[in-house]
Structure formats: structure tokens, C-alpha cells
């Protein structure tokens, strides 16, 4: 079937995303990717082959009707296209920016499959139509069904919880979201930097949910003010969804990790993004303005930290990673952006100790040279130490970005809720159902640290499961 559709070879190449110049953007917090113009969007949309069997959709965790919305772009109906996306994805402006499309919808695109490596730029189009709609008044809100009288509580306002809230409220279910921080959005506001995802966009997406009728409570720590059991029993909610995130930073447990100038990536990014320390002293919260910054880790969070450090005025930012460029877990695009901006990579290097001065500040790190050995269980070649090969790196700031563990606050205060040995909540990956009656869970608190779109997918699946349980 797909064969038929690929007979017409696309003549138009994949349209590049306009970006801020690398050397200029490395010193500001404005968004890196500037977004398509109308002309670019039409050119790119024209590349979609409208396959009879749209593989792209099977690559999307929330199953956006990709060919349909692109068809509407071609027809010039951008508002319609935006709402077509929003039928499945309540947060398209966010997903269009932070989804790893290259390993999802775009990986499945027929244009990519044919060995061309030039898939239709679905993510860029999604971002374009959703931004266009927001800039043009958002269009008419969908008509909501009559309230069902059902009430659901959502723990955490990150991508999983927001997606679930959007899906439920559109079916007439009352939703209250409980957020511990003072801002809504979870990792979207504390973790992902302004230059990748402007906070005004998160706020606008949250406002749209509020207009649809979702109720939000900030500064509200579930597990401390009230437990999940309280929400079910005292507040008589019909169901609770736990999307409290990964959110407990891991450290290497090497000497010197508690020296001044050593941060978890969570703290460094929270100070910078949520508290807007990049605008200190206009904003009251400070963050170390290191001159020589070292980041431990090779994931997206490490890239975000390194690129933030550059923007905060560092002269030299170095990513220290135990394996090689080929094994970096970060998105290729993020690594590419970091390199363009001047982030250095010190590969096959394992930190052994952070060296401090008498006042308790970090001044350098002691490192071990590594080499790649046999493949481990994950299939990646395991780094092994090169005997006797040690060296030091001078620095004044260290950011530890090696991952997060489950935050135990909600799991440990909820009765009869099964967790695994890492403290993650055990939930059915297709439905989000937990061991506890009327309680669903999804996102990083179930899977461990993953991506925004996977959390959104989990929120959507849990919403569908709840709706079928409710008989809606």
C-alpha cells in the first residue's frame, strides 16, 4: 500500500528551522528556534505524501492525526489544523518544541524510511500551526459536554497531568490539579530552559486548560497538606492521577560533592528557569555565575545545564562524559546546538573527586581516563578505566546531571500503592492503573526519567482508561 504512495518523489527538500545565530544566542535566553514562516510551512506541508497507511501516527505517543492536520495546512486552514492537533494533544506548542520527533513520528515517516533520511518535518509544522492559532486568538473553544458530576484529582501539573486534565475536561469530567510549586507546568517550567521552551508558552497552554474548566491549586503539596487517600475519602474524588515526576536528583557519591559551587542539574535549572536567576538582581534569586563550568552527564538535562551556563556568562563550559559522542543519550539536535554554541566535550572521562579550597568552594575535579570495553546489558559498550591515567580539570562550578530518582513524597504517603525497588509507582503501561483502586499514575514517577511526550502519552492513556471506567 505504502509503495503506491511513494511513487511521486518529493522535489522539495526538508525545510530548515530558522534559528538565532549560534554565537549571539549563546549569550541570551531568547528562544533558539525561531519557527517556520508561512511560506516555509506550505513548502514543508507539500512534502507530506498523505500515505494511506500513516505510519507517522503509530510513532506518536498521543496519536495525533498527522496527515489530516498537514492536509489542513496545505489548504491554508491553520486554525483548523491547530484544533485537529489539539483533539489528541492538549499541549501542541510544547510538544512541537520539545518532542524528540526524530525517534517518533518522523522516524516512521515514509520519506525517512526510503533511506532518504529526510522525513516530513512534522514537529515543526505542529509548532507552526499551534503558535499561529495562539497568536490569532486561539479560535473557538470546542463545545464542552454537560458536566458529568465526576471529579478527578491530579497530583502534579507536569506534562502527564496537564494532558490528562485536558482529555478529561473535554468529556465533562471536573478536574482539580494540585501543584507543589508556585508555578504550573512542572518540569516544563523548572527544568526546560527558557531558550528551548519560553515560559509564556507554558502559561498560555495552562490558561487554555483553565478556560476549558480545569481548576488549579498551586503551593499545594500532596502528601503533606492532604494525602492521596484524603483526596479520595475526604474530598470524595472519583479518581486520582499521580503524575508527580521523577524529581529527586541523583549524585555520584564522590568526595567533594557538597562543596559550594556544586549543583544538581535540578537546582541549577530551577534557580535559572523557575526563579529566573538569569535576571538577578532584578529577580531576587541568585545562581553561581561560574567562569569555568563542568557538567557531569550526557543527556538532554546535561545539555540544558551546559547551555544555560554559557548564557549565564561562563567562559568555558565542559561536558564530562564517561563514553563517547556516539553513546551520548541526548537528542542529536541538542548536542549539535550545544557544540555550535561553544560547549566543549571531555569524553571517556569519569570524575573521581571534586577538589575544594579552604572556604569550601569547588576549584577542580580529579578525573580518570576511560576507554570502551565490552557491551553491557543495555547493549552499550561499557567504559572501563585506563590504568594509571588520571588528570585534573580546573573549574569553579560543577553541575551534576546524571539523572533523577523517584521522589518518595507521594508514593510513601499513599496507602496500598505498589512501588518497585527504585521507588517508582507500579502502573499498567497501557492504562496507567495502579495497584490501588481509583488511582492511576503516569509519567516519570512510573517510568523513571524519560521525555515530555512519553509523559503526555501516559496522561492520555490514563485519561482514556478512566473514561472507560466511568462508562464515558
Amino acid at each position: 500500500m505504502a509503495e503506491e504512495t511513494t511513487t511521486k518523489k518529493p522535489k522539495v527538500p526538508r525545510q530548515k528551522m530558522p534559528e538565532q545565530d549560534a554565537l549571539e544566542r549563546a549569550h541570551n535566553f531568547y528562544e533558539v528556534a525561531l519557527g517556520y514562516t508561512n511560506d516555509l510551512s506550505l513548502l514543508e506541508a507539500s512534502r507530506c505524501l498523505r500515505c494511506k497507511k500513516p505510519y507517522c501516527m503509530s510513532g506518536c505517543p498521543v496519536e495525533v492525526d498527522i496527515p489530516d492536520f498537514i492536509e489542513m495546512v496545505k489548504a491554508g486552514d491553520l486554525m483548523g489544523a491547530a484544533w485537529k492537533v489539539k483533539e489528541k494533544n492538549s499541549l501542541p506548542r510544547i510538544a512541537g518544541r520539545v518532542c524528540p520527533q526524530e525517534s517518533q513520528c518522523e522516524a516512521k515517516c515514509v520519506l525517512n524510511k526510503k533511506g532518504k533520511g529526510e522525513p516530513c518535518a512534522i514537529g515543526r509544522l505542529e509548532r507552526y500551526v499551534a503558535d499561529w492559532a495562539a497568536e490569532h486568538g486561539g479560535g473557538k473553544m470546542p463545545e464542552l459536554p454537560k458536566p458529568t458530576g465526576l471529579k478527578v484529582g491530579v497530583v502534579g501539573s507536569g506534562p502527564a497531568g496537564l494532558t490528562l486534565a485536558g482529555a478529561l475536561v473535554k468529556k465533562g469530567v471536573g478536574v482539580t490539579v494540585f501543584e507543589a510549586l508556585h508555578e504550573l507546568g512542572g518540569v516544563l517550567v523548572y527544568g526546560i530552559p527558557e531558550f528551548r521552551l519560553p515560559k509564556a508558552i507554558v502559561r498560555a497552554e495552562v490558561d487554555e486548560l483553565r478556560q476549558l474548566g480545569v481548576e488549579f491549586k498551586t503551593n499545594w503539596v500532596v502528601g503533606r497538606i492532604e494525602t492521596v487517600d484524603d483526596l479520595l475519602e475526604k474530598r470524595k474524588l472519583d479518581a486520582v492521577f499521580i503524575g508527580s515526576g521523577a524529581g529527586a536528583p541523583l549524585f555520584l557519591k564522590i568526595p567533594g560533592e557538597n562543596l559550594n559551587g556544586v549543583y544538581s542539574a535540578n537546582e541549577y535549572l530551577t534557580r535559572t528557569n523557575l526563579m529566573k536567576a538569569y535576571r538577578f538582581p532584578e529577580m531576587d534569586t541568585p545562581v553561581a555565575r561560574g567562569r569555568r563550568v563542568v557538567v557531569f552527564g550526557g543527556g538532554n538535562v546535561a545539555m540544558d545545564s551546559a547551555r544555560s551556563a554559557l548564557r549565564l556568562g561562563a567562559q568555558e563550559v565542559t561536558i564530562v562524559y564517561r563514553r563517547t559522542m556516539a553513546e551520548l543519550p541526548a537528542r542529536a539536535e541538542e548536542v549539535h546546538h550545544a557544540e555550535e554554541e561553544g560547549v566543549k566535550f571531555k569524553l571517556l572521562t569519569a570524575p573521581l573527586e571534586i577538589i575544594g579550597n579552604e572556604a569550601g568552594w569547588a576549584v577542580g575535579i580529579k578525573c580518570q581516563q576511560m576507554e570502551l570495553g565490552e557491551a553491557d546489558q543495555s547493549g552499550r559498550r561499557r567504559p572501563v578505566p585506563v590504568e594509571g591515567a588520571y588528570f585534573d580539570i580546573e573549574c569553579d562550578t560543577v553541575i551534576v546531571a546524571i539523572g533523577n530518582a523517584a521522589n518518595p513524597l507521594v508514593p510513601t504517603t499513599t496507602k496500598n500503592l505498589e512501588t518497585n525497588k527504585w521507588g517508582n509507582i507500579v502502573a499498567d503501561l497501557d492504562t496507567g492503573k495502579t495497584s490501588k483502586d481509583r488511582v492511576w499514575a503516569g509519567g516519570d514517577i512510573v517510568t523513571g526519567a524519560a521525555t515530555v511526550i512519553l509523559a503526555m502519552g501516559a496522561g492520555r492513556k490514563a485519561a482514556l482508561s478512566m473514561l472507560s471506567t466511568f462508562g464515558l
Binding site: 503533606r224 497538606i225 526563579m275 541568585p286
Partner: protein, 286 residues
């Protein structure tokens, strides 16, 4: 939400405010703290809850003006609202009938010690409270403490009120008398807690201290509040704020508390140039 109902100066640079916060008042247990933001541009800072009234739906906060947020808070008037108030946070104090409990409070540390003392007293303990300050004018909440203590001993470093000497000397005196003590709870400046632990360690008297590391989120997400206890890294916000005093690395805590000294001064000086900041020697704006 979070309206300031009253604001008073109770010592030099020390204020007490009663805040409307029914949810927090209901859920709060001794030893727990809140995190507040005074205004949109403000920091998140932790303050231990000094008292609460569940019926009225209020909590009481007592704080000393040291940085931009604490000064800013001091200029707020009844009727104004805190921008954000989050809590209760932290693991509550382990309260049970131990027997005789000695509470040691130094300076502003008397405020967080109050609800713990009250809890220990309500649990049927014989409570001996030692309250200390540099000089008489800096003593706070002595009347409140009297109500929840079986014995109240007051000391000033300069002898201007009560016993002439440090709280540690008073504590040593009680120990030397042979009083059987089951638990000591010490809250105050880091050097004071360190000194108390030196005394209690020698007497093999179990001691709980409450730490005040720098925090951001207060829910275990950021790790700013790392402290070392028995050589292990713990998070002050969720593992604490109370820890076994014998195991705490106080020197590390002191160094970490100084991490933002430079920026703190910049922020404070900037605040003093604002119309609100220039009146910050007048609490409550009156």
C-alpha cells in the same frame, strides 16, 4: 489567601506575623516549616512555623531580618498578602513521652523551638527550657515558653537579664546537678548548636538539632539543602529539618550557608534603594 493579619516587632530586627493559612494550620505538626515568597520577583525561603491556630486558620511566623526576603517581609503590613505560601514541609518532630526533655533555644531559634516544646509538654514530658540571647533586648517569646515549660531558665551573654552566661553553661549546670535527662532539643545559630552538642555528647545525652540550610523547592527536588549526617548526604527539606546532633557536620553547614553571601548583599542593597526598602527599619510600615 495568605493574608497578613498582624505584624509586630518583637526584638531588634525580629518580627512576628500571623498569616491566614487554614490548610497549612490544619496539617502542620511540630518541627515542620513553610516556604514563602513575598512578591513576584522574590526568592523562596523556608521559615519554621512558630505557632498555629487551627480554629482561626492561622499560622505564626517569627523571623530575623538578614537578607532581602526577610527585610521585605518585615515591611509588609496587615492586609497585604504573601505571594506564595507552601507547606507544611519537612518531617515532623518525633514527639512521645521520653521523660525529661531539655529544650535549648538561642536567639531566633527560640521560635521554631516553641511548637516542639509545646508538643513535648502536651505529650506528658517534664520540659526544661533554656532560652538564651546575647542581651536582654534580643530575648524573644519568653512568656510563650513559660506556658509550655515546667522549668524555664533564661540566660544572656552579657548578664543583662537572667543568668549571666551561655545556654551551654546553663545546660552543663543542669547535667552536673545529676538531673536525669532523656532528650535534648537544640535550635539556634549553628555555633550554638555545635556547642550544645559538645556538651551533650560528653554527657551521652541524645540530642536533636533543627537545621536551616538554603532551600529552593523544599520538597526534595533540587538538593540545595544538602547536609552531611553520619558521613551521608541528606536533604534538609525532606530527611530533616531535624537530625541527630551527634552526627551532623556543622562546619559544612556553616560553609554552605555562606554560599550566596556576595549576591545576597547585592540583592539587599538594591532593595534598600526601592521605596519599600528605604523604610525597612520600620516594621509594618508604621
Amino acid at each position: 489567601m495568605f493574608e497578613i493579619l498582624s505584624m509586630e516587632r518583637i526584638g531588634p530586627g525580629v518580627n512576628r506575623a500571623v498569616i491566614s493559612a487554614p490548610d497549612i494550620a490544619r496539617a502542620h505538626k511540630p518541627g515542620q516549616f513553610i516556604i514563602l515568597r513575598t512578591h513576584e520577583e522574590g526568592e523562596r525561603i523556608p521559615l519554621t512555623v512558630a505557632d498555629k491556630d487551627v480554629e482561626k486558620g492561622t499560622i505564626t511566623l517569627v523571623w530575623q531580618e538578614v537578607g532581602v526576603t526577610t527585610y521585605y517581609f518585615g515591611t509588609m503590613c496587615p492586609g497585604e498578602k504573601l505571594h506564595d505560601l507552601c507547606g507544611p514541609l519537612g518531617t515532623p518532630t518525633h514527639v512521645e513521652k521520653f521523660g525529661t526533655v531539655v529544650g535549648v533555644g538561642g536567639g531566633i531559634g527560640v521560635a521554631p523551638l516553641f511548637p516542639i516544646t509545646k508538643g513535648m509538654h502536651d505529650a506528658g514530658n517534664h520540659v526544661i527550657t533554656i532560652v538564651g540571647a546575647r542581651t536582654e533586648g534580643l530575648l524573644i517569646m519568653t512568656e510563650d515558653m513559660k506556658k509550655v515549660s515546667d522549668e524555664l531558665l533564661i540566660a544572656t551573654d552579657d548578664g543583662s537579664y537572667g543568668i549571666h552566661g551561655f545556654v551551654t553553661q546553663v545546660l552543663q549546670g543542669i547535667i552536673d546537678k545529676g538531673t536525669k535527662i532523656d532528650l535534648c532539643v537544640a535550635i539556634g545559630p549553628v555555633p550554638m548548636m555545635k556547642a550544645v552538642v559538645k556538651v551533650t555528647r560528653a554527657a551521652n545525652l541524645p540530642t536533636v538539632v533543627s537545621l536551616n540550610p538554603i532551600m529552593v523547592d523544599g520538597t526534595g527536588m533540587c538538593g540545595a539543602c544538602r547536609v552531611e549526617v553520619n558521613g551521608k548526604t541528606m536533604f534538609g527539606c525532606v530527611d530533616g529539618p531535624e537530625f541527630d546532633g551527634f552526627q551532623v557536620d556543622f562546619d559544612l553547614l556553616t560553609k554552605r550557608l555562606a554560599m550566596y553571601k556576595g549576591p545576597e548583599l547585592i540583592a539587599l542593597n538594591k532593595f534598600r534603594e526601592t521605596s519599600r526598602g528605604c523604610q525597612c527599619q520600620f516594621p509594618g510600615g508604621s
